[in-house]
Symmetry: none
Subunit: 278 residues, 2 copies
């Protein structure tokens, strides 16, 4: 009972509903699930029944109150948007099973990429790149178990573009030494995806205490570091397998690097030229 979808419950219950209640059921199925998310009065009106009837209908489905019923609808909606299956029907005639693993994986990765672009406000992205291009103060980078390589990749590129780039390694023993020079207004880019690394929260706490501005690059579930972050760039990573996919973070990093380079081109090009020679 508990675990059934609302639509499923309607189907089960429809035969013992009274006629006005059926009107409510049809109304809901007709614009599912939106109508159920509206206030009772609106639901009633749209479905051509009274509020009282709608309430009786809901209680027939086994929900102990209208808000309870709405919560179920919301959870269903959330569930649906998380599962990657949703757009299999419609336009694409081809069978999924036909595609090769790599194709399916790439399709997922593309979705994650697009989803990430939608999740990140342009202004936030721009603000981060501008701040990176300013060359004010130092810029620290830190990552977790797997994301450390992202931090490394970013560091390697950023070094070419601006001075003062440092990487914080993960060893607690050396942390104090590394953080001692952090000054107010310095920038810190922190990577953290689930399962979130507790030590990064400590690092972030420390950085925040020293008044560094934190840029957090994380997944859609949002690392706890976000509490301390000045800027947050969340990416979609879910792919429904053993591991999440960090490809979208990687591409975000490349985008940040590219944009930062663009913004600081006069400085950066000179710098890169001289590194090339030296």
């Amino acid at each position: 009972m508990e675990g059934k979808s609302v639509a499923g419950r309607i189907h089960d219950a429809i035969h013992r509903l009274t006629s006005a209640e059926k009107r409510a059921a049809r109304g809901l199925l007709g614009s599912y699930p939106t109508l159920g998310l509206a206030p009772v009065a609106e639901f009633a009106q749209q479905a051509g029944a009274s509020s009282a009837t709608v309430l009786r209908f809901v209680s027939q489905l086994g929900y102990k109150s209208y808000p309870d019923f709405q919560r179920a609808l919301r959870e269903e909606l959330e569930e649906r948007s998380k599962s990657p299956l949703q757009r299999s029907s419609a336009s694409g005639g081809r069978a999924r099973a036909d595609e090769h693993f790599l194709d399916r994986f790439v399709t997922q990765a593309v979705d994650n990429l697009r989803g990430s672009a939608a999740l990140i406000p342009a202004s936030e992205f721009e603000a981060v790149c501008t701040r990176l291009a300013e060359n004010r103060g130092a810029c620290y980078l830190a990552g977790g178990r797997f994301t450390d390589f992202l931090a490394g990749y970013m560091e390697a590129h950023l070094r070419l573009v601006r001075p003062g780039v440092r990487r914080l390694d993960g060893r607690p023993a050396t942390r104090a030494d590394q953080l001692i020079d952090v000054r107010p207004g310095d920038l810190a880019v922190v990577f953290d995806v689930r399962r979130y690394d507790p030590s990064l929260v400590e690092v972030a706490t420390d950085l925040a205490a020293r008044r560094a501005q934190i840029v957090l690059i994380t997944d859609e579930w949002m690392s706890p570091v976000s509490r301390f972050a000045r800027f947050v760039l969340p990416c979609r990573t879910e792919i429904g397998r053993t591991w999440d996919a960090n490809g979208s973070l990687f591409t975000l990093v490349e985008a940040v690097i590219a944009r930062t380079t663009e913004l600081s081109w006069p400085t950066a090009s000179k710098r890169m030229g001289s590194i090339e020679k030296g």
Copy 2:
């Protein structure tokens, strides 16, 4: 103003939101639109802010009340489910020039990803993963200046899946030591993109002399290492800027890891379990 999507309004408004309000904005974008359909108190709690802040946030978006805001969300949801599924994201098919840097970059990255999938024969991909999953002999990883981080990322994951994973670092001084144990039939994954790293050719030569099987992950212009490689997985990287984009390589790595994990699941799951505990 009236006709804008809620997400659109958030993007427009985010720069003038206070930090607690931004938390609300991110919370909503993170589970859009469900969180906004919940009562204020729940929204607030999930987003890590107070109800008052959520209300202020909503009013910043230009809605005159919370119910008004919820109505907008419901209408959007209704709209979405009515129009054909593949509507171009949010604001419709506006001109390229209008799009922000990140959107354009992501579009490029998506092209590269698709291009890579087309460039790599399914059989080649599958053969590599199968070979990795076999757990025969050791598996060495090596990369160049920037791709070294890809090697590191792959190593970190591969270690969880199979034994005998080693990373070759770039220092010529230690190379001989590292290669001394390579035996015929061992596997070596080499990353190389332009401008190709001469030292990788040397490493590859050496590996080939010791009869290791080389898997080369490279770009569309094909590293010279390909001469020695048993398997080649080329990716599209061109993006028409200062740097090429290696996002497609990264996603390829993730795909290889995922597929390899899948193929060696009985072994891998046990191994991962015991690492988890230990």
